[in-house]
Amino acid sequence: MLTEQEREEIERELAKYGNSGQARAACVEALKIVQRYRGWISDAGIRDIAGILEMTPEELDGVATFYNLIFRRQVGRHVILICTTISCWVMGYEEILNHLQERLGIQPGETTADGSFTLLPVPCLGACDGAPAIMIDDTLYTNVSRVLLDKILSNYSGVQR
């Protein structure tokens, strides 16, 4: 079931689409709202949201699974996105990715055993003049080197919810 807060925020989005039959236009925003509170979108999350948007759970899941930043599997407390596209490739993202894998002990797509970090490769972050670039949650880091990465990670380790 949606919490009161989730429902309120989704209804605010719904108000943008006055005409009947347009409720589903709010679905990406609704998925992001629920993901913000729950960390990811479970099957129950899909059912909760579909109900209020005049969509079937299957229709909503079709949209949810289309987007790489709607998480249909559980992720860690922090999600690390590493750009693997051309400018970051030229500037050596592979070394940064290897270092991340070593430091975290996980492969791309996996979550650390303590649930702290999930590591996801993503297409271009639009920060090509600062390649290689990564994002952790909502924060962008550019010109990332192994040394800088260690410093960045130290700000996150031990962070408790």
Binding site: F66, Y67, V90
Partner: protein, 425 residues
């Protein structure tokens, strides 16, 4: 700041201009002028005459694009104007800077453009990763609404405009204008068939114009200073300025607003500072990943739509990715094709099945497992996945760097196959 209309007024620290600062620099005067002094058709004609061409990469005359929207009392309602801010072309980061540095310039450009087509509702379709841009745009929208520059009866002109920000959740295909419409409607973001074109049947089947952010940011300046002034800004016969970008192993990667038609040598050699110590220029992708590689012989090319097209590539987004002599060109092509294969929406078979085939073949070649017929297969695929053989332009866009890469880097491809290894590793 007349020679750099888009960025000349921005703060050096790239913090956003508040509405007060923007107005002190003449902001919202163009919107007043258009809404109170010009008929919608006059605004359309002015922009058409300026020859402002679509800065998202297609290079179509903006005013002409608008002119296909049904006008008058019989036109279907509501009509929509959408800013395409889903900047996901690899190598492109210009729209981020325009929104972050001066969100009101985009809003003003959208008010005028919406008025010119008599749109009722406008959206900014913003990519997920641009968190700072989203925050600054939200703040600017609140300011614009409180000043009554958005909403009902703007400037007492009788014209009203509703405005929303939509932030997406990833996927390159959302930037394709018909896929973007499906995304906004809350459907899977697969492209639609054209015709009908969005100007006639777009969002929820209503007349819709989708313009790139940089395109829209030009509008207030054209209204203020006129079509002739705008035409005079270019260096090579094309109109206006262009936000050029350079990334790769250059000394000073970044973005610069320059007269359109500035030669590539000047952009890479002077503005980007030339190559870093120990690296030599090998080639360049001139306008984002979906454009053809160019080489040293093209360095004096004037970077405008027609000149780059004549040289066999496209100006695209105008954001160049430099490939140096210590970077494996086969690896570069492989990386680019991997991006397109991953970002295919899966709707049409040639794109869904063809791009992974390209990637598998390139992967094999890069890892020393290429076979003698591989280059011919890749060559055939550049034809099978070309325009009019796929549902939208994604796969043909992916074929541009492949096609040119196979030609320009032919010796490098052959070395990988005959030596059974990557010579760069």
């Amino acid at each position: 700041m007349m020679d750099r209309p888009l960025t000349g007024d921005m703060r050096p620290d790239r913090e956003p201009l508040s509405i007060k600062e923007y107005e002190e620099k003449g902001g919202y005067q163009a919107a007043r002028k258009a809404l109170l002094g010009l008929a919608p058709k006059e605004a359309q004609d002015l922009v058409r005459d300026s020859n402002l061409r679509g800065r998202g990469g297609a290079g179509f005359n903006t005013g002409l694009k608008w002119s296909f929207v049904p006008m008058g009392d019989a036109a279907p309602r509501p009509k929509y104007l959408i800013a395409n801010a889903d900047e996901l072309e690899p190598g492109a980061f210009k729209d981020r800077m325009l929104i972050e540095g001066n969100p009101h310039q985009l809003i003003e450009g959208m008010i005028i453009s919406a008025y010119a087509i008599q749109a009722d509702i406008s959206y900014v379709f913003l990519r997920w990763a641009y968190k700072a841009a989203a925050k600054r745009l939200e703040a600017a929208l609140t300011e614009a609404y409180s000043s009554h520059y958005l909403g009902e009866n703007i400037f007492g002109s009788g014209y009203s405009l509703e405005f929303h920000l939509h932030t997406s959740a990833g996927r390159y295909i959302c930037g394709e204008e018909t896929a973007l419409l499906n995304a906004l409607e809350g459907k899977r973001a697969t492209p639609r068939a054209k015709p009908p074109f969005p100007q006639v049947s777009g969002l929820w089947g209503k007349p819709t114009v989708v313009n790139n952010v940089e395109t829209l940011c030009n509008i207030p300046h054209i209204i203020n200073n006129g079509a002739e002034w705008y035409k005079g800004l270019g260096r090579s016969g094309d109109s206006g300025t262009k936000i050029y970008g350079v990334s790769g192993r250059v000394k000073n990667p970044g973005l610069w607003e320059l007269p359109i038609g500035t030669p590539m040598r000047e952009i890479i050699g002077e503005h980007a500072g030339g190559m870093r110590e120990g690296y030599r220029f090998r080639s360049v992708i001139p306008g984002g990943a979906s454009t053809e590689f160019l080489t040293e012989e093209h360095l004096d090319l004037e970077m405008d739509y027609d000149s780059v097209q004549k040289a066999g590539s496209r100006l695209g987004t105008g954001t160049m990715i430099v490939i140096d002599d210590r970077t494996c060109p086969v690896g570069a092509v492989h990386n680019i094709e991997q991006f397109f294969a991953q970002e295919s929406c899966g709707w049409c078979t040639p794109c869904r099945e063809g791009l992974p085939w390209v990637v598998k073949t390139l992967h094999a070649i890069e890892n020393g497992q290429g076979e003698s017929g591989d280059l011919e297969i890749l060559q055939q695929l550049t034809d099978s996945l070309w325009l009019n053989k796929t549902f939208c332009a994604l796969a043909p866009g992916a074929m541009e760097p492949l096609k040119s890469g196979l030609k320009i880097f032919r010796d490098d491809f052959l070395r990988h196959i005959t030596e059974k290894r990557c010579p760069w590793k």
